[in-house]
Amino acid sequence: MSPILEISDLSVAYRTPDGDVRAVEQVNLTLNAGEVVGLCGESGSGKSTLAYGATRLLRPPAVVTSGSVRYTGRRITQGGDPVDLLTMGQHELRAMRWREIAIVFQSAMNALNPVLRIQDQLLDAVHAHLNLPRHEAREKVASLLDLVGIPRSRLRSYPHELSGGMRQRVMIAMALAADPEVVIMDEPTTALDVVVQRDILAQIVELKETLGFAVLFITHDLSLLLELADRIAVMYAGRLLETGSSRDIMRATAHPYTVGLLNSFPSLHGPRRILAGIPGSPPDLRNPSPGCPFVPRCTHAVAACKEVDMSLAPVSGSVGAAHHLTACPIVTPQVSQEGVLS
């Protein structure tokens, strides 16, 4: 698999009068062609900031303080060199957006304009990013709705006439308008109930198979990602704590925080067990303490944790060692195994 989006050493800070809030700290994350990568963490862990920072969608007071985002997508490789999204001109950037990288925004249910028909909103996106004659644009919009399984008769509906699940599908259709190679989905199913959620996830996987785009899927629900994602990155306090395949994350969990996340949702199968979630709350990012940010909530923490440099290293003894990385040198998978759901 070839990488198409390589985020390296990315740091993003929010400038405030009380000092910088370092929302993303030196994150390295690679997205390969046709792959689903799950980015998972609590509210305020910086997962959305990471995605928006990498695509230059943040406005002041947010500042990208370091790093590069190399895009080596299809259209670029066909005639040109890899580009760095962070140093690109506004003009090139605009050409990249939607055609190469599209986003399904958080609370997409409310991202549609309530006073415009679905058709007009989809047409807007198509006109802005594809150079199509009017009748072809209309046909394109209708075929987009086909793609996500909404009858064409709904083109003339207003958003309030659609259910939450349908609105979400319209947003996905809109993101796919220009046949992008990377789709970033920010909590696309959070406000939906389980039956609809599963429908939409299955549809995303199906579309991914047919259209071949890569997905960066952002959510706070690790249980979803285990089923959906090829690889998972766990984020906490602006840093990646663990990355690996779904199987590694589930079966050979290396970081105590990931163990906590895995113990945060009750299971429908197996014996009923008392679960604790993760007590405590995330740290204040304005004055981060040195070492591992999870120390105050970690049950395995030792004095050395305050000096850990937080770089990701291969997990010893894990099957996928080369691709299974953790920032915790203290706990080995064998120790954490007991806490993992079986």
């Binding site: 609590e42 259910s163 389980v194 039956v195 959620q197 599963r198 549809q203 779904s246 009750p266 429908l268």
Partner: protein
């Protein structure tokens, strides 16, 4: 009888293309058609497992709510719902958006007046309107809202939010600030004096929801209605909240109604599970039993839809795609069984006649014409 019509479009056509998906309008039907949808047979009387925990606190029999939309159209949001809440026990009401579960809670909380049926508290029938008796009822039955961001006033402190209900509902109380401190400690916001002066925006989502719990407890209720109390919170703190709720239920001997669309969390801490669909209870019974051996096709769909970490790396399947017809998120059918438009077992009878709850065992019941087929379908099907 002619086909029911919504906004000029017949409804019994292709199930995937029900014209209105707006939650309220979904079940909008002309009055005449609605009357034809009454359940066939008497609903079974179930012995609740929750009764083993303590005495009956709140009971409702045949609860009904019809919203009139005008032009002779009505939404039958709650239909013939009967259950009891018992002190020290957790009863979970599970269903998807628009199934009527929140309307049930609003009826019990007195925010809406029922169109039919009886609510009784401690054996006393309650007439819900602004009388003094109703004020007493509100003391005893409290409501926790879903959204901790919207349900606390941003310009008031935590202390204010708790002082007010204490003064209102405990008029003789001389030690108001002591009571507030005790409330905060009860929901484990300690040290309490640190939180009294804080404003909602200074608190995390979990802390805000704890304040909501404390506010509900300020009236010294013995029934707590919690409407999706954790669904707006991060996954990592949901369990802490559920554990807190369970602890409060046992310690204060509260009767808790836990409303959710997450059946796994219902299994986690509820004694009894009521599954609701299309305004009716379609299955009920002990939590473990219902989640491990679901009888109604809808319960089976709910369980198959829940994220399953054991299903590692496999190609994600839509729960609707396999055994259950894939029709997306359409609303319930209007006559006959509400689930018939999405059910793999539905036949003509299901489309014509709405089944009432039938006993499976003394404490378990389901409303389906094809219970045997459904049970064997599940056993040999998805899992």
């Amino acid at each position: 009888m002619s086909e029911p019509v919504i906004n000029g479009v017949p409804v019994t056509g292709v199930p995937g293309d029900v014209p209105t998906t707006d939650v309220a309008a979904r079940r909008a039907v002309p009055l005449a058609v609605d009357q034809a949808a009454d359940q066939v047979g008497e609903p079974a009387v179930v012995e609740s497992v929750a009764a083993a925990r303590g005495p009956l606190a709140l009971e409702t029999v045949g609860l009904d709510k019809v919203f009139k939309l005008g032009r002779g159209q009505v939404v039958h949001a709650v239909r013939n719902v009967s259950f009891g809440l018992y002190k020290g026990a957790v009863v979970a009401l599970v269903g998807e958006s628009g199934s009527g579960k929140s309307t049930v809670a609003k009826l019990l909380a007195g925010q809406e007046r029922p169109s039919g049926g009886q609510i009784s508290l401690d054996g006393q029938p309650i007439d819900i309107h602004g009388s003094r008796a109703f004020r007493r009822y509100k003391n005893q039955v409290q409501y926790v809202f879903q959204d901790p961001f919207g349900s606390l006033n941003p310009v008031h402190t935590v202390g204010y939010h708790l002082t007010r209900p204490v003064k209102l509902h405990q008029p003789g109380n001389k030690d108001v600030s002591g009571t507030v401190t005790a409330l905060l400690e009860q929901v484990r916001l300690t040290p309490a004096d640190q939180y009294v002066g804080k404003y909602p925006h200074e608190l995390s989502g979990g802390q805000r929801q704890r304040v909501s719990f404390a506010r509900a407890l300020a009236a010294k209720p013995f029934v707590l209605l919690a409407d999706e109390p954790v669904s707006m919170l991060d996954v990592s703190i949901r369990l802490e909240m559920l554990n807190l709720l369970e602890d409060l239920t046992t310690r204060l001997s509260l009767a808790l109604l836990y409303i959710t669309h997450d059946i796994a969390s219902a299994r986690y801490f509820a004694d009894e599970v009521l599954v609701m669909y299309g305004g009716q209870i379609v299955e009920r019974g002990p939590a473990e039993d219902v989640t491990q051996r679901p009888s109604h096709p809808y319960t089976q769909l709910l369980i198959a839809s829940a994220p399953d970490p054991d299903n590692l790396g496999s190609v994600l399947k839509s729960a609707n795609a396999g055994n259950v017809k894939k029709v997306g998120t359409v609303g319930p059918a209007i006559i006959g069984c509400p689930f018939s438009s999405r059910c793999p077992l539905a036949d003509d009878k299901c489309k014509r006649e709405n089944p009432a709850l039938q006993l499976l065992s003394p404490e378990r019941a389901a409303a389906c014409w094809h219970l045997e087929a459904a049970t064997s379908l599940y056993a040999g099907g998805t899992r």
